[in-house]
């Protein structure tokens, strides 16, 4: 084998495949809470729909903050677990949606993910579960984590 082979019918395939929407729901907020603070006996909402305090026996174990970032083709929900003192304990992606068809900005497109759990693997459009292609940057999530530490770090006591 010393030469490249022209791939038969690439043009047809390449031209007929429409922009896919790729989406995965990894964890619900409740699952993320339990994973981040397995010994917690109580989670109380510290900020509506965004931050939960984890406690066990009256002691604060930490804070779980949920946030999302929106890019041109991306919509990512993620959770940051902060330990007392504001140290980042873990960052988990809750949901990941990627689209090159413009659906991301549409509320109804997003609504289909509400209430999904990791048990119900999503199949959007077609059965696209794994993709190998150009790398997506996680810069926005990294910046989001920094913002969360700045905003909530001192509040975890």
């Amino acid at each position: 084998m010393t030469e490249w082979v022209r791939w038969s019918a690439p043009a047809a395939v390449v031209l007929t495949v429409a922009a896919p929407a790729y989406a995965v729901q990894y964890l619900s907020v409740a699952q993320a809470q339990k994973l981040a603070f397995p010994s917690a006996t109580r989670f109380s909402e510290a900020e509506g729909g965004r931050a939960w305090k984890a406690e066990a026996g009256g002691k604060v174990l930490g804070l779980l903050v949920v946030d999302h970032v929106i890019g041109k083709h991306l919509y990512i929900d993620y959770a940051v677990a902060l330990a007392p003192g504001g140290r980042v304990q873990r960052v988990e992606i809750l949901a990941y949606r990627e689209s090159y068809g413009g659906e991301i900005r549409s509320a109804s497109w997003l609504a289909q993910f509400v209430g999904k759990t990791s048990g119900s693997a999503l199949r959007v459009g077609s059965d696209i579960r794994n993709i190998s292609g150009a790398t997506l940057s996680c810069t926005h999530v990294t910046e989001g984590v920094k913002r969360i530490v700045a905003a909530y770090g001192s509040r975890v006591r």
Partner: protein, 301 residues
């Protein structure tokens, strides 16, 4: 009580991308522990080999290895050994000493020291000694492991999962992935320059797959035109190939081979054959070429 079995799928932001781990059905607590260990392995590679973390082995090498031999972690040493092996096998097409070019293009933060006088291959620029010691031949050598560390991290994550008794699964670091276990995994390959288009779907089983190409979180640089693969021979962005996907036994080789292919596609089939790897490339004009052992493709969904 629901049975305590589950298939898991988790993702975390690491290595500058999203690293996803999915596992076949297994007891839940064991699966969570295995995923934790796998992410820890990826995070360790990130800590050791990030260009951006001042405390990484990589940053220490770039700061000090021009002056004296620097002792590195066994994992960093292993990656450097593979990098030099590939530099030799690819006749210089794969080269980790292109960091100064990436800096010049604004793709890596600038180091104010003058870069090494081009043009020397990494085989000549980097010396590896017993005791995991590494020295650079001159002061201006700077390396970037961005073209190989991600694949290595995927391999280490798979090791961690296997050693925790996971029967099968998939680790995917932003498109550089490895599948293990008896089940094949369907992977869609997309055109790196037009991510809305899928080129094909292939089944991957007990092997690794990596894709490189034009970046689409474009860093503005007219010079780079969005491509972060540098041709070491001329030290400018590679342009003949706009995307390359490689299947190989390990992800470290799959990852690095995509870079060699982007730079020197003509010599690649022989190189791939010698490593029992196969590949698909998209040329600048949109034509697709494959090695003759590329698996029969089925139409993308």
């Amino acid at each position: 009580m629901a049975p305590a079995f589950a298939s898991l799928r988790r993702a975390r932001p690491l290595l500058g991308t999203f690293v996803e781990i999915s596992l076949a059905e297994m007891p839940t607590p064991a699966a969570e522990a295995a995923v934790e260990a796998a992410f820890a392995a990826v995070a360790k590679v990130h800590r050791l080999m990030s260009f951006h973390e001042p405390g990484s082995d990589l940053a220490r090498l770039n700061r000090e290895a021009g002056e004296r031999a620097v002792t590195v972690d066994p994992w960093t040493f292993e990656v450097l050994e593979a990098a030099l092996d590939l530099n030799q096998r690819s006749a210089g097409a794969f080269d980790v000493t292109v960091a100064p070019v990436l800096e010049r293009l604004g793709l890596l933060p600038r180091d104010e020291r003058p870069p090494a006088p081009a043009r020397r291959s990494s085989r000549e620029s980097i010396e590896l000694f017993s005791g995991r010691r590494v020295r650079f031949r001159d002061h201006g050598v700077r390396i970037d492991l961005g073209g190989i560390a991600k694949g290595f991290a995927v391999d280490r994550a798979v090791d961690a999962l296997r050693s925790h008794g996971v029967p099968g699964g998939l680790v995917n670091a932003g498109g550089d992935l490895a599948a293990f276990g008896p089940e094949p995994h369907a992977i869609h390959i997309r055109d790196p320059q037009d991510p809305g288009r899928l080129l094909c779907a292939i089944a991957v089983r007990e092997e690794a797959l990596a894709t490189s190409g034009a970046r689409f979180d474009l860093v503005r640089s007219a010079d780079a035109a969005g491509v972060a693969i540098i041709d070491p021979a001329v030290r400018v962005p590679a342009s003949a190939v706009r995307g390359a996907t490689v299947r190989a036994g390990t992800c470290i080789y799959a990852d690095a081979l995509t870079k060699a292919l982007m730079v020197a596609p003509a010599n690649a089939p022989a190189l791939l054959a010698s490593l029992r790897a196969s590949a698909l490339i998209v040329l600048a004009n949109g034509d697709v070429r494959v090695t003759d052992d590329w698996p029969a493709v089925r139409r993308a969904a």
